[in-house]
Amino acid sequence: MTNVEYAVDDDTIAVVEDTDLPRRLKDNVYETLEGRDGVTVEDADELAKAVEARYLDTRVDPLDPVGTVSAQSIGEPGTQLTMNTFHYAGVAEIDVTQGLPRLIELVDARKTPDTPMMTVYLEDEYATERERAHEVVWKIEATKILALGDVSTNVADMRVQISLNRDTLEERMITPEEVAEIIEDNLGVSTVQQGTEIQFGPEEPSYRDLLQLVEELRDITFKGIEEVSRVVIRREEMDDGDEQFVLYTEGSAFGDVLEIEGVDASRTTCNNIHEIHRNLGIEAAREAIIEETNNTLAEQGLDDVNVRHLMLVADMMTNRGEIESIGRHGISGSKDSVLARAAFEVTVNHLLNAAIHGEIDSLQGVTENVIVGKPIKLGTGDVDLRMGSTSPGGSGGQAD
């Protein structure tokens, strides 16, 4: 017997479990029954049967063009999305591309999003103590020289002088010796370090080289991950009611962050589907595509788009084990039919190449049959009907 968490009697469970409903709908039925007084087994049976009938009725029919329906169901609300790259300062003052540009970015499977970001969850004491959470922040956020102290150029002696701020160094857990060493490694100069003062200069006195060194010095990442320009720390309430520190980053380096101590590698995510694919595999990428497209629509109040449509899109994009874009360079461009490809974009190129290679179109799809004027193989178009009966003895049904 299946375990049911709801306060209903065994007979009711028996009639509900007997139906052809998926788990979630069964649970919904139990919930409804639980909330009502004086429900007899007959009532429960009637309700379960009604739900089942409705469920079977709303399933997709064989030969239904689900792709076309999905395209329309996402396309129509898509017309209501914001068209400009609207930066929305929602979560923790971090700019994130929203609306139509974001949706296009997702279905085009761009290598990097316009505004990459990560949501980093922390584990154990890192999530509850601000001090510990900050330790993780300094390991993620890229620290440049200007954050550590002042840089000045002494033109008379041809020297670059850095005066580091001791408090900042302590806070970010880096020593002046380390700073000096990183400078030597990156710029190939020898430095003189005394306390918090660091000095260095070009080998030959040259005004140009001196300025060049200062330029390069500013680009060095002393601590943290180069791609991450900013980290915002926020205290958030979790589903279980506890409060935790959560980090939001501008810029992303998903693989690197997962390795950092204190980062919860089971919940941390980023908005770059390719990074998710690389680090967590194709199934996680599919999950992320659904999640991201759904959130983009929900953000604009269009969350009544059925998630099944988005799931279909994600399934198609991940079907070959890698992320493919929708469109000429991806799924539409890899169709078997020449005519279907030619009808989509760059018509002449496709026809020319097909002619050169002697391609044959077997006219299986929709587009090519519309072009040649044949019924499409969908719905009633794929069903052959015959008059009368073929069974011997003529006992079959009469044609009408």
């Binding site: 590698a265 089971s266 919940r267 680090n279 199934e283 799931m311």
Partner: protein, 75 residues
């Protein structure tokens, strides 16, 4: 190294044995090459999986309780 399978975005992956595979292919009336694919270097792939194996994936579905899908290991 991070244990990828612990991430909440990653569903359960397991290698399907040949007998069960036959049943699955018969049920859907398809060849194994008709299945969706998964690359051999996929991070979530079990270590013992080889090219030509079929992976059973049990997703936490949004529309039903659990959804079982299959992917063929390629390349």
């Amino acid at each position: 190294m991070v244990d990828v399978s612990q991430h909440e975005l990653v569903p359960d992956h397991s290698v399907l044995d040949e007998d069960t595979l036959e049943e699955v292919l018969e049920e859907y009336d398809i060849d194994r090459t008709d299945l969706p694919k998964i690359k051999r270097n996929d991070s979530a792939l079990p270590d013992e999986a080889e090219i030509g194996d079929v992976i059973k994936i049990v997703r936490n579905s949004r529309t039903t309780d659990q959804a079982v899908v299959y992917r063929l290991v390629v390349e």
